[in-house]
């Protein structure tokens, strides 16, 4: 590693029970792109108990350094000790950019760290860039462009924090692409002393229940998703039938979740999961940007909608204008006939 480079781009390395969150690895790859533009190194901040072994994974995905905070008090995630320790480190080293996964953990601690350090923080970014901008004749170097849908997803906003040193963002899992790991990459482990006041560890975990999810939207090659246009159990059954015939994973828009037709872990979109399958079939989904943000990177998209003007057609590769109660049975029949 070139030790002359600054240490300006940080990623919070989120682990649970010794398993790295995918989003942290995705962010390391993005951080490399940002860091190259800033002529900086990439550092991961890793907290936990006996987790030093994870450093190799972080190096392989792009970290030059791992700040290692290893202590039995950090075994399970808790807001205050995690947030305070990261805050102390950020205040001491003053990176320019700190990225967190927009998870139940990242969205819990990032605001606390930003509050204490008075940093700019933007939630749920869908794109990040580094640029130098001149604002009112003042040149601002290495600005983090924090790009996200806003206002119910009707607009795309670019947020900047030009007047502060530290720029933070949270990013949802699946939004950034995880590149291939390079096992030959090496890095430096920087141990950080963990000192905690009793007040900081006063919140106790009484119980914890976590199950492996039975839903694997991110890994599914084919996804069939229903939305507002399939808002009755009868219509949604057709969506399920198609998913079954194609061996696809079932998903839905927020409307389908709100109508109680599918569980929220199957929601695709800005507030759900971001997917990029080989084939995405959107049925009765108008294609509000919240939804498109979660699926528009799919390799092929088929849209079935009774509204010819639905925005989903503008991101689709195949558009079928028609009533889903007529189209789906025909589609199933056509698929079956070609299998033989």
């Amino acid at each position: 590693m070139n030790s002359k480079l600054k240490d300006m781009v940080w990623v919070f390395a989120e682990q649970t029970d010794g398993v790295m969150a995918d989003v942290s690895l995705e962010l390391l790859h993005k951080a490399r792109t940002l860091a190259e533009k800033m002529k900086s190194q990439v550092s991961a901040v890793l907290l936990g108990d006996k987790i030093e072994g994870l450093s190799e994974t972080l190096f392989a995905h792009g970290a030059d350094n791992v700040y290692l905070l290893d202590d039995v008090e950090l075994k399970d995630f808790r807001s205050m000790p995690y947030a305070n320790l990261i805050t102390n480190l950020v205040e001491e080293k003053r990176p320019r950019v700190v990225l967190f996964g927009a998870t139940h953990i990242g969205r819990d601690i990032a605001p606390r760290v930003a509050s204490h350090t008075r940093s700019g923080l933007t939630a749920d970014c869908t794109e990040l860039k580094i640029e130098t901008l001149t604002i009112r004749k003042v040149q601002h170097e290495d600005l983090l462009l924090q790009i996200r849908p806003a206002f119910g997803g009707n607009i795309i906003a670019t947020i900047i924090s030009p007047d502060v040193e530290i720029q933070m963002a949270t990013i949802r899992e699946g939004v950034m692409e995880m590149g291939e790991p390079d096992a030959s990459r090496k890095g430096t482990i920087i141990p950080v002393k963990v000192e905690l006041d009793p007040v900081e560890v006063a919140v106790k975990i009484i119980e914890k229940h976590q199950e492996a999810s039975s839903v694997n939207l991110k890994g599914a090659p084919i996804i069939v998703a229903g939305g507002y246009g399939a808002d009755t159990p009868e219509k949604f059954q057709l969506v399920k039938d198609l998913a079954k015939v194609l061996g696809a994973e079932l998903a839905g828009s927020r409307a389908a979740v709100d109508a109680g037709l599918i569980s929220s872990e199957r929601q695709v979109g800005q507030t759900g999961t971001t997917v990029r399958p080989k084939l995405y079939i959107a049925i009765g989904i108008s294609g509000a940007i919240q939804h498109r943000a979660g699926m528009q990177e799919s390799q092929k998209i088929i849209a079935i909608n009774s509204d010819a003007e639905a925005p989903i057609f503008q991101v689709a590769h195949y558009g079928i204008h028609g009533n889903l109660t007529e189209v789906i049975p025909k589609l199933i029949a056509a698929y079956k006939s070609q299998l033989h």
């Binding site: 914890k208 080989k278 025909k330």
Partner: protein, 299 residues
């Protein structure tokens, strides 16, 4: 000890109902065109606070920062059962990001004084950031429980609360010392309907702005003070605080106190995929499936 809960609430534009004329030609949003509603998760937070009050007694204070018309939402808090409603409102708070908002809210909490619990919705539907709750907790120097699904046990003797928190693919039960701030997720608690008797009483509740609007030029300032006192004596005052009332430093408020700035706003540009219109006929669908099989999308 008597329980005192503060609930952070926000009036938001109903972003779930955006129609054509809400978007200006330049791609910005005309907020005035959207109906203003009680942020759904904040309403659930108020419900959770009221349930604790039903069980343990005490008081619930609803606190908001917003424009004068946020008094409408505060009246709804009173209809549901809040004992006190406070509107933090000042032009100098305008354009606050989450940091400047949490700064103002924590100053208002300081002015309120003693409290055991603070509730708020996980996030507001106009920003979906989920940042104001944790940032307010940090500024108050208290712990937080985000993504709260349920409050299981409040022990006023030991001064602890147990809450169920959503985590990925599961949940955890946390026990926190009071005071603590909890942010509440969707579906934690179905808000109760308005109490008809409370509605009859508190529909006459007024903020300072609303009282001012009833006073015309023929009256002097003393008259205004008397009117305020009368409304207060009737327990119908929506307390209305400005920057000075909460002892806030102007430099940390509003746009000046907001590190994040909107640099650019764009209409959504749809990626122009190579698009094939497929007739909704058996032949059309057959051709599409042939295409997809050739591309090895199927199989």
């Amino acid at each position: 000890m008597s329980l005192h809960t503060i609930v952070l609430v926000k009036q938001v534009p109903d972003t779930s109902n955006i129609s054509g004329d809400v978007m200006r030609p330049d791609g910005t949003v005309n907020r005035a065109r959207l109906p203003a509603i009680f942020n759904p998760e904040d309403q659930e937070a108020l419900e959770l606070a009221l349930r604790l009050k039903d069980k343990h007694g005490g008081k619930v204070t609803a606190l908001t920062m917003g424009p004068p018309n946020a008094a409408n939402m505060l009246r709804e808090c009173l209809y549901m059962g809040a004992d006190r409603a406070i509107l933090v409102s000042d032009r100098r708070f305008a354009a606050a990001d989450t940091l400047a908002t949490s700064y103002a809210l924590h100053k208002a909490v300081h002015r309120i004084g003693d409290y055991d619990l603070i509730f708020g919705g996980r996030q507001a539907i106009d920003g979906d950031t989920a940042q104001v709750g944790p940032q307010t907790a940090e500024k108050l120097g208290i712990p937080q429980i985000t993504y709260t699904l349920d409050v299981q046990k409040l022990d006023l003797k030991k001064k602890t609360v147990r809450a169920k928190r959503a985590i990925k693919n599961g949940y955890e039960i946390l026990e926190a010392p009071l005071p603590v701030l909890l942010t509440v997720t969707k579906d934690a608690a179905e808000p109760r309907p308005f109490d008809v008797r409370r509605l009859c009483t508190y529909k006459r509740a007024q903020s300072r702005f609303e009282i001012e609007a009833t006073v015309d030029d023929s009256h002097d300032l003393v008259w205004m003070d008397e009117l305020m006192e009368k409304v207060k004596a009737d327990d119908l005052l929506i307390e209305t605080w400005n920057i000075e009332d909460i002892d806030a430093d102007v430099q940390w408020c509003g746009l000046a106190g907001s590190p994040t700035k909107v640099h650019k706003v764009e209409n959504v540009v749809l990626s122009g995929a190579e698009f094939k219109k497929v007739p909704a006929t058996s032949d059309g669908l057959n051709d599409m499936i042939t295409d997809l099989m050739q591309d090895h999308i199927f199989g």
